[in-house]
Assembly symmetry: C2
Homo-oligomer: 545 residues x 2
């Protein structure tokens, strides 16, 4: 170890220079994407992710031309970078910013779509590729390879989904598609890990049962871990009241504990994605309300910023990496095969998603009483379409599987990786460009209707601070509980049902909040008069979502 | 490249697992340090850095015992990690949060102490070690090695300094010692780089002239680059007004451009430390005032948080790395030599610092007219003492020099590295523990006096928003210019002199602010009524430092 350190430090100037170069390039490109994203904000078609993908592709081409076709990418796609540094902030922020009420009101549907849906999609893509690939000459693929393909292409890109659907314009769809995406990602990664570990060459019912059992345990444990870390952070910050001395310690502790939840999950081979998502949910429900006002503003925007930068980085990265020459050499030899594989996979993704979205939405509608609350056909089409995108998770898993050192099937592997990239690029660009117009075409009333809902909600939130300021926070909360926030105006007018959510709120108010804080818990203001004034001026403004 | 990627990804599970382990450990330790730092906040002796150092040492010992003496550190000290990721946020935040008026009022003294001071210290330590090491049996050291030692031990640890002095309690000393520390770090690193590049085995006057010339050009170019990037960010954010659509883009752009300034400086072999420091100064003067209220709160606290976490990380790291077994083997063979080298270096550090602090403060006092404005002897002692600490910069430079692959003098190198670590640990623990009590012992009135100053200032800053709210921002600014803020009460009562600062303010108001924004520039509030209200409620609260 000492020797390796000596060697590594000796060549520092070379490696360091390379990393300085590529970091500078990436930072410049990130700035560019943010500026272009800002200028295109009102554009109907382009999203930030497509912009980043295209900028990444262009940069890849420029580098390719400059290095005379030697290497298109400055950074080789690095799974660690993706799974350890880029993904956690995105998923955490999603949990942190998600509208919790809506998420939990649709919890069953989301879980159905996410967990059962990815299993259906996994089975269809695995079996489909097994049947259809036989006719193509792509070398020998093992059983495990087909299963891996199923897992790889079952992972919806929840990041892209965030970009094309708007939480304010289509709140129900957003929470469905996005919530599904998170559970789906977790499911796919968990499936993938399970495939790597289990010997699946001869499946029988015992192994299948064992597999599903350990899978469910994994999902449950991951959730519990996320909730536990979130509650621990709330408890520590409430008890020690860090903001007394320094706002920065609170912010640092929140960031570190959020990250810790992910890393601990990874350490114990759980699903870090699911853990960090639930940690985000709990932190926004409890911890966030226990910190000082400045910390609230800071964490809210800092998490969103981390997430934004990570997203753009991922798309830049995928775009730049797409042009890696080595992989495309094999494609050149037999372009027909590659096109065939890509088309088959794309078709299977379309069919696989249709095969669970429509039946599961039908099932979910059976449990919904009022007509207005049901998920309409046009909405189902939107859910199906918006979840078609495959993204960085698929790329990362494909790299992981098809570049294993033990593998010798160089040609087949290269074809699989290029096909994955093709599918990712195609779904991102096509779905990315068409989803916004599609949503506006399919759900024009929805949008208007929701904007009315929104404005009435924002009026409520403007009225809330006054109530809260009078110290009646718990009462006003309770009264808004008794009338559960309507997911549609008609439902609100007919039957205000007592949902699971209602009982949860009662439990929360009686047992959880006294221990872990949460909305309504107001920490003492730190010493300085300045801070004091700031605090009282800003008041409870931001507490209300 | 393709092949290496295949190999690297193939062994992913092993490397990835190791990094997950060590990241988890570090995150846990960071949380621990933050909590302990919070609990020890009011403690007279301990600072966060000493805590982190001790926790790092303890963890090192625990790992050492667990791995049965094989390896004490989980992460080998990695210069890239330090110089590319950890140092920039600390120095940027220092520039961002420093009290600009006080910094510029003492600009000459700071530059004198920082640039000339480190040169004096460098010469003394180089010559001293050259003379004194002859008597010790530590193998053959070349001319370059002695010069490198001079540069390594001239780098004051500005991070530690931040911890022991309080900007509010002793503002003059803080700005002197800290400002000096930044210039000093930059000077040392620049010197070090120059030593690596120039052939210094036979120095003559031409080479010396060339050396100093390129050195001054380097300092100047670095500053200009930092200012340019800062102004560019201000201009972009003012022109495009990113906050219109999303606060997060503003925050992201500020973070990215700050980092960009550092990376570009490194790319062109300039002093990234100096560049990012000046970028921070400019950003807090212009850019910060051009963004929305939420972005202001977020950036202020997010930068401070990054800085805090990086600082703690560095100390943990140095602490854990200190117990690397390989290096101490040589020490075991001849403990006397090691103790001798460490003591000599420590003595030279003490003498080298004394040799420039007292004369330069004397020079600086000659230019100060009023008695109260002069730097008293007790204050000089504090400046001398507070800058004795050597930290991560020294360790990083020592690793860089004494573990070069070309070097064969294993034994001498090991002794140099262990001695560096010894000096760093000793100065940190001893100075870290004694500085707070020393400041209170030497400057008891100073503290009281400054706290009076502070309270009157904070009253002023509370009155300011009212003036600003009446739209008289430029007038009120001008009037406060005509009475330059006194650095002492007596000076204020005698002669309100027109300083460089006064002319700068006039220039700033007439030419810079119309283009780059800055205090008084109020961006339009983004669309939502919520945001609007928030903005108007919080008003200009935070604009005033």
């Amino acid at each position: 170890m000492g020797v390796s350190a000596v060697v590594r430090l000796g060549v520092r100037s070379a490696t360091s220079e390379a990393s300085v170069n590529s970091i500078t390039l990436f930072v410049v490109l990130l700035c560019l994407c943010i500026l272009i994203g800002h200028l295109l904000e009102k554009n109907r078609w382009m999203t930030e992710s497509v912009t980043a993908l295209l900028i990444g592709l262009c940069t890849g081409i420029v580098i390719l031309l400059n290095t005379k076709g030697k290497s298109s990418h400055i950074l080789v796609f690095n799974e660690d970078l993706f799974f350890i540094y880029l993904l956690p902030p995105i998923i955490f922020n999603a949990g942190f910013q998600v509208k919790k009420k809506r998420f939990f009101q649709n919890f069953m549907t989301i879980t159905l779509l996410g967990a059962v849906g990815s299993l259906v999609s996994f089975v269809i893509i695995s079996l489909g590729s097994m049947q259809l690939f036989k006719k193509l000459d792509i070398g020998f693929l093992e059983m495990g390879d087909y299963l891996a393909l199923g897992a790889i292409f079952s992972a919806t890109d929840s990041v892209c989904t965030l970009q094309v659907l708007d939480q304010d314009e289509t709140p129900l769809l957003y929470s469905l598609v996005f919530g599904e995406g998170v559970v789906n990602d977790a499911t796919s990664v968990a499936l993938f890990n399970a495939i790597q570990k289990f010997d699946l060459s001869h499946i029988n019912s015992t192994i299948a049962m064992e597999f599903s059992g350990s899978f469910l345990v994994l999902l449950f444990t991951s959730m519990v871990l996320g909730v536990a870390v979130g509650l621990l952070s709330a408890y520590i910050i409430k008890k020690l009241y860090l903001g007394r001395h320094s706002t920065d310690r609170e912010v640092a502790l929140m960031i570190l504990m959020a990250y810790l939840s992910y890393m601990v999950a990874e350490l114990f081979d759980l699903s870090g994605i699911l853990t960090v998502f639930f940690c985000g949910l709990v932190m926004s429900h409890y911890t966030w309300h226990n910190v000082t006002e400045s910390s609230r503003v800071t964490t809210k925007h800092a998490f969103a910023t981390f997430s934004l930068v990570s997203e753009i980085f991922i798309f830049l990265y995928v775009g730049m990496d797409a042009l890696d020459i080595e992989k495309w050499k094999f494609v050149k030899e037999s372009p027909g095969t590659s096109v065939g594989v890509s088309s088959i996979l794309l078709g299977l993704v379309l069919v696989g998603r249709a095969a669970f979205v429509f039946p599961l939405c039908f099932l979910s509608n059976l449990t919904r009483r009022s007509q207005a609350d049901k998920i309409g056909f046009k909405q189902q089409v939107t859910v199906w379409w918006a979840g078609l995108m495959r993204g960085a998770v698929s790329v990362a898993l494909a790299y992981n599987w098809f570049t294993m050192s033990g593998h010798t099937q160089q040609r087949g592997n290269a074809v699989m990786i290029t096909s994955t990239i093709t599918v990712v690029l195609f779904t991102n660009v096509v779905c990315g460009l068409l989803t916004k117009p599609l949503v506006r075409f399919l759900l024009p009333q929805q949008k208007q209707f929701d904007s009315i809902m929104m404005s009435s909600e924002s009026e409520m939130s403007l009225a809330m601070p006054l109530l809260l300021a009078n110290g009646e926070d718990s009462k006003s909360n309770m009264s808004s509980d008794n009338m559960p926030r309507p997911s549609s105006l008609r439902m609100f007018l007919t039957t205000p049902t007592r949902s699971v959510h209602y009982y949860w709120r009662k439990f929360d108010d009686s047992y959880m909040r006294p221990v872990f804080g949460g909305r309504g818990f107001v920490p003492y203001a730190p010493g300085s008069p300045n801070e004091n004034m700031h605090q009282s001026l800003l008041g409870e403004q931001i507490i209300v979502e």
